[in-house]
Symmetry: C2
Subunit: 655 residues, 2 copies
């Protein structure tokens, strides 16, 4: 006897409410409301293989409303993924379980991306859908042809990042992106009309999407909508009218249904209302079997795909791309560094970045670049990277528009999808716009390179709104983030090499607008930046002070070194392009490099915050202790005292 | 003979292009394109008085596309504001001028808000428009009845924050908010269709706005639209089709027209095309006179308003509100602290915050609260603050929806408007969403209080996506921001008092989700938090180590102190609720408080970054060096070693 849809959906509901009751925390409102849709999607349409969560051509499923994590844990468990056992569901939200409060891709195979911060899921999914189209262009329908499905809630759609994602997706005509909007009209504070009256379908249509409204509990409408959604020539949003906390006698449809355990009485009431009389955490065998069977509906497609891959001439290239192997770029970087030193030019590090990117994008076909409408300023566009458009999906450069946040999230999505190493540019100060997505990349360990130019008051006339002073520090504070601030052409190439080799997290490369002196003219055969900090120029004569600098200020430190030596004060210059990598060195190297107990002066056109670790409370600091100002950059360096004289004075005060 | 519209608009164009040529930098594309609209607005509709930029009932004009700053400098100069002289225009973008690269309200009277980071202006304007409606409800049409005008560009509308602003404005039916969209179809990278195809009118309509499209160079259509715009019962967006770089022979209408000096030939071509044959920076007398005369069109309204104010029974209250005088809240805070200590309860600091807010919102009618859909979690709603809605503008609580960024920007707008002291809540980790607006508030010196609850792994099961570990550090890195992390009920009240007295910038109050021990039971008559850090508990016996802690970790430090003393190791506990205020103390106080050279251990459930300033490179640190995890919070404190034993071990390692 076949198992009814209702029973299968109720299995999700039961596991979800039992887990939340057991944990005494969590959000059961969404799983109760979205169970009908999720059941049909996962058993009939979602192309996935519970036996292989890493199948490259699987459909991606993104629970943007991540608080409803029990929905995805129930689905993974019921369809037979190894990653979520019944025991894991009993241990929902407990230490070390595979079922954390919000879905974490690095904990639970089958979870495509970490969600919870609202709006991130839908924006990340846009990146996944872009990656699919790009890799399809590169490898063909045989190897890459899948969809990206998103479940998003009211909260996701209120977040600004969703607008950036939606308009980018509409612009790019991502027709294999399908958003299922859990239109339950409730947020934490209560009914959505406490804070919002947006006509969401109209809004998506304005961005070039196809939309449809359905009753999210009517199976016929669900089937019809999911069929329809796959046939559009643009991205699709289906507004699914659901009842949050479906079945709950007193809470269904209310703000209180959003989260928290409902309590024994309410849960008993749900059991009665939905017709589920099985004990907590128990699923009748026939329902369990039906789930396993129907959850495996796409396994034959996986087998066919594997055959195609085995026969494909692109097999090696495809597997290399998916594995994220970048090949040996050392030779490319070394040759470039040698040429830089021989050329002897002074340029802005953003220009040096552009120059080495010309080489790297030729050598690494997985690199896909872009900019948030600052292409000419960020120097991220290279000859090898043609614009990616619906007419040319094989292009490797994305005009992201003025959408820093959506861009950073989309890059996370490309990285998680695999097959692409995304990089993109904006001004460093606008890291503040994208920080929530940057952080999520760091948490997920996603390889993404954030090119951040115009990295200090050195950008000059645009003034304090555009001048980062605390952004380098604030990014250094973030776990699992490498922040690079190279001094010249050689270090810029080295930092790019390190960023490409940093495959377990994001890298930020802070670059100047203004020209900088060439300071690293020796030992270019070695990547000295790899140690984070190194002695760029040892003291001549009696060493009394250590100057530590980064980026555009290394040249100033070198000038100050000469001025100090003229006064009989020996000084070394330490260049510190990456504080995190320096922190990772052993104490002996750190101490040797920083001259042991010698007094120290740090020079960086940013705030002191964080520097005392290396210079001490009484160390000298030449940098910023306020916001900047609008003027030509040399005037600003003088105004704020970030000058050779300033460094000399700070050093003299210590010796 | 009357001066023609064309000549007046051309005066803006001429000053703008001459200034940009002189500075060799800046953005003249927008002023050239928007000159027609701006001329008509400022001479016929904008209610302003060049003689008094601080007139409280003036219309607000916000140039959201702040890069076009020469538009507003030209307008201020031409209509006769003292703040912008011809000399200032010649000194555009130079050090110390009144004409910085982007408009800065703290530099140039007549500039309402600092813009440049795209989307911030429109979002800030929403706050101004809210403030107007609220103060209108409080003081009546006689004293408060004005409009908020915004000029926004494509870039502003691509930024996600604009969506939060637009949907909030639509929800609140802010019918006195009028956005003039500079629909020039060009961004820096080129034509907007490189990155966007949004139907902006449809998008605004979906959010409940009235919209209209006009030719932005057709004076008749402009007059008609501005008349129409003032008669709607909802916010209004007028899409003004303009030509960026209007008049430029080769650049008009192209991406290159956006910014940078056009060069002598192009500028000569503009002069010819627009019919302006006067030398650089020179305006014919008749045109100058016409501008002065018509710029003063609203001065009679100001005089009438002043009479009404003089006669108003609300004069004193109104002036007090506009001046931001909060009266003496010390007594309220003191009484509250006394009651807290007498009560002896253990609560979460978010609850303590809610409790003191009950008192403060009664005492300070200018306080307007809110939350980004976390009202019950943030404890920001009090009895004195009823929801503010179109039906009850006098309400003092805003359900901001899931819009952290728009909320922070709107708070900036309320603060700049004057008459309101805004505070609002979200989770601390979501400071990452609103950071760009928080920073702008710090730059502008706007009094805003960011209540940030759930301030560490102490939030427990929601996991690492929701657990701030680096946010406190990243906010401490920001200039002109006070970051408070109070330990208990007494300190929470003290920090609120300090935040309300901090009228020259934003304050962030980081608060726990979990209950904390009451640690401050003595000296409650004094606000000890005002010094940033203080000795909470001196060592008993032979002092060998100093424990410095903040927030929820102060209780752990106090326990560790007892455990250490039981082992014969004397330890003091320093509570440091505000690192910035401690930094502001003199060196003697700092050293005395921190026990001079005694070894130190800091305890904070966040990253170490920044702490070495107080504990030294070799100091002990008990906190986080990675992202968190999902589990009940006590399990997490154990997992990450933030425990009494952990502190004891760290201290023992140093003595």
């Amino acid at each position: 006897m076949s198992v009814e849809h209702k029973d299968m959906a109720n299995a999700i509901r039961a596991l979800s409410m039992d887990a939340v009751e057991q944990a005494k925390s969590g959000h059961v409102g969404l799983p109760l409301g979205m169970a009908d849709i999720a059941t049909i999607l996962w058993t009939h349409y979602l192309k996935h293989d519970p036996a292989d969560p890493a199948w490259p051509d699987r459909d991606r499923f993104v629970l943007s409303a991540g608080h409803g994590s029990m929905l995805i844990y129930s689905l993974l468990h019921l369809t037979g993924y190894d990653s979520v056992s019944r025991e894991d569901i009993r241990n929902f939200r407990q230490l070390g379980s595979k079922t954390p409060g919000h879905p974490e891709n690095f904990v639970t195979p089958g979870v495509e991306t970490t969600t919870g911060p609202l709006g991130q899921g839908i924006a990340t999914a846009v990146g996944m859908a872009i990656a699919e189209r790009h890799l399809n262009a590169r490898f063909g329908d045989d190897l890459v042809d899948h969809k990206t499905w998103v479940v998003a809630g009211d909260g996701c759609l209120m977040e600004g990042v969703s607008q950036e994602a939606i308009t980018l997706a509409g612009h790019m005509k991502l027709n294999k992106l399908i958003v299922l909007f859990d239109d339950n009209a409730v947020t934490i504070d209560g009914s959505t009309d406490l804070s919002d009256n947006t006509d969401q379908c109209k809004r998506f249509e304005a961005a070039g999407w196809a939309t449809k409204k359905i009753d999210g509990h009517n199976t016929e409408e669900i089937y019809e909508a999911l069929e329809w959604a796959q046939k559009q020539d643009k991205p699709v949003m289906v507004a699914c009218k659901t009842i949050i906390g479906y079945g709950a006698p007193t809470l269904a449809g209310t703000g209180k249904a959003h989260g928290g355990p409902y309590g024994a009485d309410e849960v008993a009431g749900i059991r009665k209302n939905i017709g589920w009389d099985h004990p907590p955490f128990e699923i009748p065998e026939d329902i369990e079997h039906a789930w396993k069977r129907e959850g495996a509906h796409a396994q034959p497609l996986h087998a066919e795909w594997s055959s195609r891959l085995a026969a494909s001439k692109d097999k090696a290239a495809f597997e290399k791309a998916i594995a994220g192997e970048i090949g040996d770029i050392s030779a490319v970087v070394s040759a470039h560094k040698k040429a830089v030193v021989e050329g002897g030019e002074s340029k802005a590090t953003r220009q040096w970045s552009g120059a080495v990117l010309e080489e790297l994008t030729k050598a690494v076909p997985e690199m896909v670049g872009g900019s948030a409408d600052l292409t000419g300023s960020n120097n991220t566009k290279t000859k090898a990277t043609e614009p990616m458009t619906p007419a040319n999906w094989g292009g490797r450069y994305i005009h992201y528009g003025v959408r820093e946040h959506g861009m950073a999230a989309a890059m996370n999505g490309m990285s998680l999808h695999k097959g692409i190493i995304p990089y993109s540019g904006t001004f460093l100060v606008f890291a503040d716009y994208s920080r929530a997505a940057i952080r999520l990349g760091a948490l997920m360990g996603a390889q993404v390179v954030h090119v951040m130019t115009h990295d200090s008051i050195g950008l000059g006339e645009d003034g304090p709104t555009h001048q980062p002073v605390e952004q380098v520090a604030s990014l250094r504070a973030m776990p699992n983030m490498l922040v690079f601030r190279p001094a010249d052409g050689v270090e810029t190439a080295e930092c790019w090499e390190l960023a490409l080799k940093n495959q377990t997290g994001p890298s930020t490369i802070a670059l100047t607008r203004q020209g900088v002196a060439s300071v690293r003219t020796e030992h270019v055969e070695e990547n000295l930046s790899a140690r984070g900090g190194y002695v760029l120029s040892p003291a001549k004569g009696d060493e009394k002070v250590v100057l530590i600098a980064t980026g555009s200020e290394v040249g100033i430190a070198v000038e100050a070194q000469a001025a100090l030596e003229a006064k009989g004060i020996g000084a070394r210059v330490v260049s510190m392009p990456c504080m995190e990598l320096f922190e990772a060195q052993d104490a002996a190297y750190q101490s040797r490099t920083l001259g042991g107990e010698l007094p120290k002066v740090a020079v960086e056109a940013g705030v002191r915050f964080g520097w005392d670790r290396w210079i001490g409370h009484d160390g000298g600091f030449v940098g910023m202790d306020s916001f900047g100002a609008s003027a030509p950059y040399k005037d600003l360096y003088n105004k704020f005292g970030i000058t050779t004289d300033g460094v000399v004075a700070a050093a003299e005060a210590l010796v």
